[in-house]
Symmetry: C2
Subunit: 659 residues, 2 copies
């Protein structure tokens, strides 16, 4: 049985967790056993139909749909692989085949509504303070009625009344008004006795006319569309306060974890772009409904949305084909900031609402990075600052009040739990911090929501590596220290060595949670990508020596943005050599800076002009084509670096062997 069990590993998405499935257990029983709370009213009897999930790979090895499934799932969905978790188990007829086949792949997608637990999605961040000056302005005006002596048209009377009432609104004449609105004008004007509320966008266009006084109902929503997660912030545009927020996993993960896989999906499927576009719009509309319901408003009271996201998310959201971002020389279709009508995007805010999308910097440095730049105000720093945004992709910004350089590094998704044997996303049950006692190699850890440990997420991984270095478990080249691999926390077999982080009996997984040599390599690659990326951009700067100053430019300050940027132990991030060796009080965790950028642009329209202007200041550096790339990357694979001179303050390394 053990050998067989080993083969039946189910990859559960979107938590990115691989879990053993016993041949005598249903998917429901397995998920419950390992502590993933899924929705069910009947407790697995097949009578409530709530535990619906999608088997994306390997459905042929499961039992055929049962009558219970046929009752709750239509034929088309059954064909697509939708199942009830409680009805789905390995088809015993196929056990032979399973043994024969070479580790068949199983991939099961847990729909958002199935998961009770919210993910640990970073929604907060540091807002450097932004003046309230939204693009949306609402005013109430009592319009003069026409007479035979002054038979002025409806629209022109609105103009005259705005002028004569000295209201806080400037209308240019001819008035810029949505045509659809003009058609409704005579009815709206007469509905509440010629009293109407005008909603103006960008000091220019009338985008809404409402009968009576509705000035108080004035909302906007800021979205951060990440490859993995989407967050929406509902903001009252009259006072700038966040009234509610909601987040959810990007449902596009069902079509690929990373942007390249999604581009491939679009390339290979005729309606691929449309499919991915409509599900992301659907997710945003879910968030709109959630935030509106929390704030007790209706979506029609939201007049504007602002959007950040990487270039591929940006394109797919807009329904623009991102295919050329995936092909050398990796160009997007458009970089400039865009204003699009909500109805052209099917976004469920006010039907005449505006959607502002922040500009892109390059194919792999997107509107999210622009959001980071806007919210961190890095372009006004005196000291040379390195900002890194650690999401599914890694973006690097180096700059100050004189210049700004950006680049993208292929950090891989190790920090999101991918390609790590027991890795997982930062969800309930994931180990997010670790301490190792050097004397006895005892491991202390915390998990998100204090649940039974299920796997390890990015911040836990960085801690684990740093602690393993300090405890001499691994060397500076990332190898296990051969002197102690006989310790009881090591598992050795022909193929590999693993270090046990959590023993089997502390989990519900029927196995230990370990770190393998391969896991360490994955983290080395990720951290080397960030460090060498920053080095290469800095080199570029020094070679072109913009100000012709004598001394070389050096990083004086670090901003860590993004989910991991906020949760990781900055000391340990520096210790493993992911970021340069500067004083801790010069390292700032600025949270979801991209999302804050979207919020700021919603609160103050001048920041959109600023973002547009910054496109001229920002230089994009294509890191991968630099001639030193290979050497810099290889040197940065060491902990903290091949050349210890880079990290003069990390005295602990004196006692850590190189190989």
């Amino acid at each position: 049985m053990d050998k067989k069990d080993e083969k039946i590993t189910i990859n559960f998405e979107p938590i990115s967790r691989r879990v053993f499935l016993s041949i005598d257990k249903s998917l429901y029983e397995t998920l419950v056993k390992i502590g993933i709370n899924i929705k069910s009213l009947c407790g697995g009897l097949g009578t409530c139909g709530k535990c619906r999930l999608l088997v994306q790979k390997g459905n042929r090895f499961f039992n055929p749909p049962t009558n219970a499934e046929k009752k709750f799932i239509n034929e088309k969905d059954l064909e697509k692989g939708y199942r009830l978790a409680c009805q789905t188990r390995i088809n015993k007829n196929f056990i032979q085949k399973l043994e024969e086949s070479n580790a068949p792949q199983f991939r099961v997608f847990l729909p958002d509504e199935l998961l009770f637990e919210d993910f640990k999605i970073l929604t907060s961040g540091i807002n450097k303070g932004v003046k309230l000056n939204p693009a949306i302005k609402k005013i109430f005006v009592e319009v003069k009625k026409p007479t035979l002596e002054t038979p002025i048209a409806d629209l022109e009377r609105i103009n005259a009344s705005v002028l004569s009432n000295d209201l806080d609104l400037t209308l240019n004449y001819p008035i810029n008004i949505e045509f659809d609105l003009l058609k409704k004008l005579p009815k709206i004007l007469r509905e509440k006795n010629h009293g109407i509320t005008i909603t103006q966008w960008n000091e220019d266009k009338i985008i809404a006319l409402e009968p009576g006084n509705t000035k108080e109902d004035n909302f906007g929503i800021a979205f951060d569309i990440g490859t993995t997660t989407i967050v929406g912030y509902l903001i009252n545009l009259n006072n700038g306060k966040i009234y509610s927020l909601a987040s959810k996993l990007n449902p596009q993960t069902a079509y690929g974890e990373d942007v390249i896989t999604r581009i491939t999906y679009i390339k290979d499927n005729e309606n691929g772009l449309q499919t991915l576009n409509s599900i992301v719009i659907g997710a945003l509309n879910d968030i709109i409904l959630k935030t509106c319901s929390k704030a007790k408003i209706t979506p029609s009271q939201i007049y504007e949305a602002t959007i950040v996201g990487n270039s591929v998310m940006h394109h797919i959201f807009l329904g623009i084909n991102p295919i050329n971002i995936g092909l050398s020389p990796y160009v997007p279709v458009v970089q400039q900031g865009l204003n699009v009508k909500s109805k052209n995007l099917n976004l469920n805010i006010n039907s005449q609402g505006n959607v502002y999308v922040l500009p892109l910097i390059a194919g792999f440095v997107g509107a999210d990075t622009m959001g980071v730049i806007i919210s961190s105000d890095i372009e006004n720093e005196n000291e040379l600052t390195l900002a890194i945004d650690i999401g599914t992709n890694g973006e690097i910004i180096i700059g100050n009040n004189e210049f700004l350089l950006t680049g993208s590094c292929a950090a891989g998704s190790a920090l999101e739990g991918a390609h790590i044997k027991d890795g997982m996303r930062a969800a309930a049950g994931s180990i997010d911090s670790i301490r190792i006692e050097p004397k006895n190699l005892e491991v202390k850890y915390t998990t998100i929501k204090n649940r039974t440990p299920l796997g390890i997420c990015g911040s836990g991984l960085i801690d684990a590596i740093a602690e393993m270095l300090k405890s001499n478990i691994i060397t500076r080249s990332g190898n296990f220290n051969k002197n102690i691999i006989d310790h009881e926390r090591f598992i050795k077999n022909d193929k590999s060595i693993e270090f046990i982080l959590v023993k089997k009996d502390e989990t519900s997984l029927d196995k230990d949670i370990t770190l393998t040599q391969g896991d360490i390599r994955q983290l080395q690659m990720a951290k080397a990508a960030f460090y060498s990326g920053a080095r290469l951009i800095l080199k570029d700067l020094n070679q072109n020596n913009i100000k012709n100053q004598k001394d070389e430019y050096e990083i004086k300050q670090i901003f860590l943005a993004g989910a991991f940027g906020n949760y990781i132990n900055k000391e340990n991030a520096k210790f493993i050599g992911m970021i340069p060796d500067i004083s801790n009080d010069k390292i700032f965790q600025i949270g979801n800076a991209a999302g804050i950028g979207a919020q700021n642009c919603l609160l103050n329209k001048d920041l959109r002009k600023k973002a547009q202007k910054l496109l001229n200041k920002i230089q994009y550096v294509e890191i991968a084509i630099k001639k030193d790339f290979q050497r810099e990357y290889a040197s940065a694979m060491y902990f903290p670096h091949l050349n210890l001179d880079h990290f003069p303050n990390l005295k602990e390394y004196e006692n850590i062997p190189k190989r």
Copy 2:
């Protein structure tokens, strides 16, 4: 039979001609007999189905649909009253009822496609010369391809290439581009090796991107939407030449001859606005196809349309409810000039094309009058000029380079043949000019297209009245001269006296074409409306004496615009007292000045700004509320006027009795 025949009068639209129907003749036979050529392949056998028409009133008195009709017309259309002309005749069972009922009304609408003959629609006019400066500009550019060193986005590379090639085009950055176009950009750019043609609107927005060089295909279309007729002029925007034109009757006439009836239809029918809007759009799209086919281009090569029309036509065309134009104080929804996307109007030009609609002046002084003002350049005249636009409604403009006043007069539709016993529209067979020999009262006439006379149209009517005055047939008060009513050209019966213009044997109508006392009254009212309207506006001007000059303002020059304005004998128009008594060489017939205004705005976008600016200069005078209205109107009912001092040069009146 004679008595019965008298009752069965069919009113044929859109030619506005009442014709007797014999009870033993089909509609087809009747139409053929009186010389109205209608489409038929089988010659009335009921086998081709081509002679389809719409019985709008009185269908219940016709025979039930025959098998032939059931074959060619679907049930729904049969219910609406569609028939085949050759199958439709009086149901003999109803003859008794016909005799009993008090002159039941029959109204038959001849669809446009049924009529062989084109109407006499005025399409030409005087173009005072306009500089070519269209809103549409097309340029071809070879866009630089991206490289790893310069991985610039598609749109931004277009911008860079336009800048570096020093092309005759200015793009502001960020670029204003239609969102739909942006989505197509990557494909279009790569279709012809990065060579694309950019179409820019108003030095601002990119509205089209086409692969390769399509600079030469650059067209616009100017429309004049009249209550009765619609004309379209297809113009090459690269050289300003009219490539083709087409006209047709406004199919809205099926729902009412005048704007008030159409407003009533909209008020009384839930989808009335939508119905009238879609048929006028359909007519415009027909004209677009016709003009394109003549010029051998496709509608997608038309990037802009300009529109003039009276306020009600303007609103219905835009799908804006005109209901308040029909109610005191007669206000439109909007006055300013508008730019609307063609696709928002379902107008079949380029899908991203622009539709510019000229501004309205008031509820009854529309964009057509603005077109007259723009093309006649009246605002630059030194001499005080009176311009009248004689269409279904009458508009009056008085002004010069210092001021402009406008008003609308209820001229009625006598000049279009309505309410005139043998009146009809200016179609083939209508009498359009008349001379009467005073000695023997012999009448000489011409007809449109030299066809057998069918009725009399506006210009013929003015001639007839003037000639009857000169021949002493009628007096200055419009009564028949009792001294000569025994002449053989008079028909007298108990009720009325009629003057025979064309004797029965010269027509195919089985009756004489005559003018009745009532007909003369109709014309008196029409001409009095124009003259008194102009007088009242002039009075308004003199009372408010804008420049405080000592002498009263006097009309020094007259522009006659519109179809009748062009075809009428200006001498006779003055003789009957329709226009002031000034020298003939100061009376100019400027043709379809409204349509020319639309053309000029298409050719030179600066004229749109001018039209917008003129809204400030133009004063609208509500003629009907002036206290002198009644007196002025009554005095102007006389030929040429109650007070002969108004017409000192018409010496002939010395010999014409007053009553």
